[in-house]
């Protein structure tokens, strides 16, 4: 597989996490921003062993089938969790368009088609989608600008735990699989900064535009888009459906393509790895309870992001000492 450059890696990681960010389940207070900051710093600290790996260190993962399997397991669980989350958010977003199940089936079919294009195609599409998303974020800010009320910002300061949890997502494992010395450091710093900025902006806008209205409301981002209209007499809410759909497809395609890519590494003769991966994700999403899925996903992140690269690093150092 050819190397993915730092821009593409950054865009992939950021857009994948943006899907989680715009799908935040509640607005609690400014504490969320601090929680997110801590999660980002912790994520950066966790990735230090990864950054210390020698040139194209993550290639080491591909050479060990068991390690590959471990990452496959994580991406499958993460994908299943995403499908479950989508199942929750889908009624709110898609019901008025096509109905809950119809919408989910369409998304599933689309992901089936897009994931067969491979991880390189997904990576190349990410910067283009990022441009669309940046434009939509600007439109949102322009629309929200007139309605910002800073007084509501001071009312609440809780939500630290929620902020921390919503910024601890599996993208770092993507960085382990796709990263190398040439693209990793820059991409990770940009990713954590951009992710924190996006999360903070959304929480800030939800608090200052929506105020108490958005508290205890599920999926406050989409209510924020209804409140922030850039033009008088014309509503732009539907435009964000487009952005949401693009992010959803990219998010699930990334998980599926990565699983398929690793499966191809383990079983070179296996055909149709992308559809198989997506089917397994769907099956797990249906069979495993949500709490178990989330718990296992969060448990595996430090292992895959910190312990595995650390192990590789230590193994390499020991090997060097023995050889010399």
């Amino acid at each position: 597989m050819s190397r993915i450059d730092s821009r593409q890696l950054f865009a992939l990681l950021f857009l994948s996490s943006a899907w989680n960010v715009i799908g935040i389940s509640g607005i609690y207070g400014t504490g969320q921003i601090l929680g997110a900051l801590l999660a980002c710093i912790l994520g950066l600290l966790l990735s230090i062993p990864l950054l210390m790996l020698p040139e194209y260190g993550t290639e080491r993962i591909y050479h060990r089938k068991l390690l590959c399997l471990l990452y496959v397991l994580f991406f499958v669980l993460w994908g299943a969790n995403s499908l479950r989350e989508l199942n929750h958010s889908a009624p709110i977003q898609l019901l008025n368009v096509s109905g809950h199940w119809k919408g989910l089936v369409l998304i599933f079919i689309t992901c089936l088609l897009t994931s067969t294009n491979g991880i390189k195609a997904t990576a190349r599409s990410a910067p283009i989608i990022l441009t669309v998303m940046t434009c939509s974020a600007l439109i949102l800010i322009v629309g929200a600008w007139k309605r910002i009320d800073l007084d509501t910002l001071l009312m609440e300061s809780n939500g630290f735990k929620e902020g921390f949890a919503s910024c601890m997502t599996g993208e770092l494992a993507v960085a382990v699989v796709l990263g190398h010395k040439g693209n990793l450091k820059k991409a990770l710093i940009q990713y954590f900064t951009a992710k924190w900025i996006l999360y903070s902006v959304i929480v800030f806008l939800c608090l200052t535009v929506g105020g108490r209205l958005l508290q205890n409301q599920p999926y406050p981002f989409f209510i924020l888009t209804s409140l922030s209209q850039p033009l008088q007499g014309q509503r732009a809410d539907a435009f964000y459906i487009l952005v949401f759909v693009m992010l959803t497809i990219l998010h699930i395609t990334l998980q599926t393509s990565l699983t398929a890519h690793l499966l191809e590494t383990i079983f070179p003769k296996l055909k149709g790895t992308a559809p198989i991966s997506l089917m397994v994700m769907l099956l797990l999403a249906w069979a495993i309870p949500e709490r178990v899925l989330q718990f296992s996903e969060h448990c595996m992140i430090p292992i895959l992001v910190f312990a595995v690269p650390m192990g590789i690093r230590l193994f390499q150092t020991r090997k060097k000492v023995v050889t010399s």
Binding site: R7, N117, A238, L242, I249
Partner: protein, 483 residues
């Protein structure tokens, strides 16, 4: 083939008999027995393929003045070493080569006792003169376009690149047609691997005939994709510019289009006039084209999706206007949009295939009379017709992508009609990822946008002037992704 690698026998009678037998006594085979230098010979040609004037003046007259020779070997040595009858004079050892040269306009000399033949390039077949390209017109550049004769095309290219670095490699394709094809490249700009890969791709084609560029193109595209990964041009100046950027071209005899590898998606938006206008105006035109591309694909779909599923996105005046216009329409909006566009495609296809004079009339009748009648009868609303007309006109700006635009436009209308912006988003992602997956020989067609190359942006997002462009020695090799 019955004559594949069949050697030429020493006896002249057998040589001629074999020739006639293998050609199955074809009427265009000309065999003239004559004594040259006291040796029995035969001069063979193919009627209509050679110039009789050139043959008489440059070949026949000098041959007839050859003094008596001891044997045929001495005669051929004399012709080869002491006479310059033609610039192109290969030696032929078998009937395979003999027929290929004969049918390419060569005169072939056979002699008693010789197992080889001498060929002389005296081509003189009728061909179309150089005209302005019909599909790539420009205002300020050259008005020359390629013709069907491969050697004329090679000369047009050579006139623009008088450097020994420009290399032509002639070969033939098609087991029956033996069509001449010519690989062209600049030796200092093209990596040997790309060249070898292209040669391998061409060798993998087991075609009987090569009648147009479309016969070869699928063999140059390594992966199946909706989007072209091989570009075409009928302008020698455009081809020269592409070769300068390290691309490889394939000229095909009998076809006025050159195939160029690799292709980038952004190339479809570049024309030669962009480099003749002032940079600021060229840059403005580029952005108009990008906008037109989006309009061409998405405008009718957005109109349908917003009107049917998201009317809140329209302001009050526009909403009232549209609802008033659509109130009496018998068909649903998506069906109406597809009807208009299919009607346009039918009229366009009819105008294209008919003789030019009639084709113009068909366009006029289709555009004005049918369009006007359809609106007056209430089959189609005026806003829908307007949207379709804008979309179709916008598509004309990028003729290179016309086929893709046509199909995607209808697909997006269906997606937008059924599922609104949600459907457009889904289809948009399928198309985007499909474009991003397109690559040949390791060159992604989305470069320099993604993977991003800052240097490439100077001719994509903007068009810098030649003072800036002359520095850097850009070649497409910079976009190559290693596997």
């Amino acid at each position: 083939m019955p004559y594949e690698n069949k050697p030429i026998p020493p006896e002249l009678q057998d040589q001629i008999a074999n020739l006639k037998y293998l050609a199955e006594y074809s009427s265009d085979l000309l065999v003239n027995s004559v004594k040259i230098g006291g040796i029995s010979c035969a001069l063979i040609g193919c009627e209509g393929m050679l110039s009789t004037t050139i043959l008489t003046e440059l070949v026949l007259q000098p041959l007839m003045s050859i003094p008596p020779q001891q044997n045929s070997q001495a005669l051929f040595t004399h012709i080869q070493q002491e006479m310059l009858l033609s610039m192109d004079r290969p030696t032929v050892w078998n009937y395979d080569d003999l027929f290929r040269l004969l049918h390419s306009g060569f005169a072939v000399l056979l002699a008693e006792g010789e197992t080889k033949a001498l060929a002389f390039g005296v081509q003189g077949y009728e061909k179309r003169s150089i005209n302005e390209p019909s599909g790539e017109a420009n205002l300020l550049g050259s008005h020359e376009g390629f013709t069907e004769a491969i050697r004329t095309n090679m000369s047009m290219l050579r006139r623009r690149m008088k450097t020994p670095l420009l290399k032509f490699e002639l070969s033939s394709m098609g087991s029956l047609s033996k069509t001449d094809i010519c690989l062209c490249w600049l030796t200092d700009r093209v990596p040997p691997k790309l060249l070898q890969d292209i040669r391998n791709s061409l060798e993998s084609a087991q075609l009987e005939t090569v009648l147009s560029a479309g016969y070869i193109q699928p063999f140059l595209e390594q992966k199946r994709n909706f989007f072209d990964t091989v570009s075409t041009t009928e302008r020698p100046d455009v081809l020269a510019a592409k070769l300068l950027e390290g691309r490889v071209a394939i000229l095909i005899d009998g076809n006025p289009f050159a195939l160029v590898v690799p292709k980038l998606f952004v190339e479809s938006f570049q024309t030669l006039d962009d480099y003749n206008f002032k940079p600021w105006y060229a840059c403005f035109l580029r952005w108009v084209k990008y906008g037109a591309f989006l309009l061409a694909i998405l405008l009718p779909a957005l109109y349908v999706a917003i009107s049917v599923h998201h009317p809140e996105m329209l302001n009050r005046t526009l909403l009232l206007l549209l609802s008033h216009a659509e109130a009496d329409e018998p068909l649903s909006l998506p069906m109406e949009a597809i009807e208009v566009l299919l009607m346009y495609e039918v009229i366009r296809e009819a105008g294209l295939r008919l003789p030019k004079a009639v084709g113009g009339a068909v366009g006029l009748i289709g555009g004005l009379i049918i369009g006007d009648a359809a609106v007056a009868s209430g089959l189609i609303s005026t806003p829908m017709l307007t949207m379709a007309a804008i979309s179709v006109t916008a598509g004309f700006i990028i003729p290179d992508l016309n086929s893709i635009i046509t199909v995607l436009r209808i697909a997006f209308i269906l997606a937008g009609g059924f599922w609104g912006l949600f459907g457009i988003g889904l289809l948009g992602m399928i198309v985007l990822l499909r474009v991003c997956s397109a690559e040949d020989y390791g060159f992604p067609i989305t470069a320099p946008l993604s993977p991003f190359y800052r240097k490439g942006m100077r001719d994509v997002m903007t068009r810098v002037n030649f003072r800036q462009m002359q520095s850097g020695n850009f070649t497409v090799e910079e976009y190559h992704e290693q596997d």
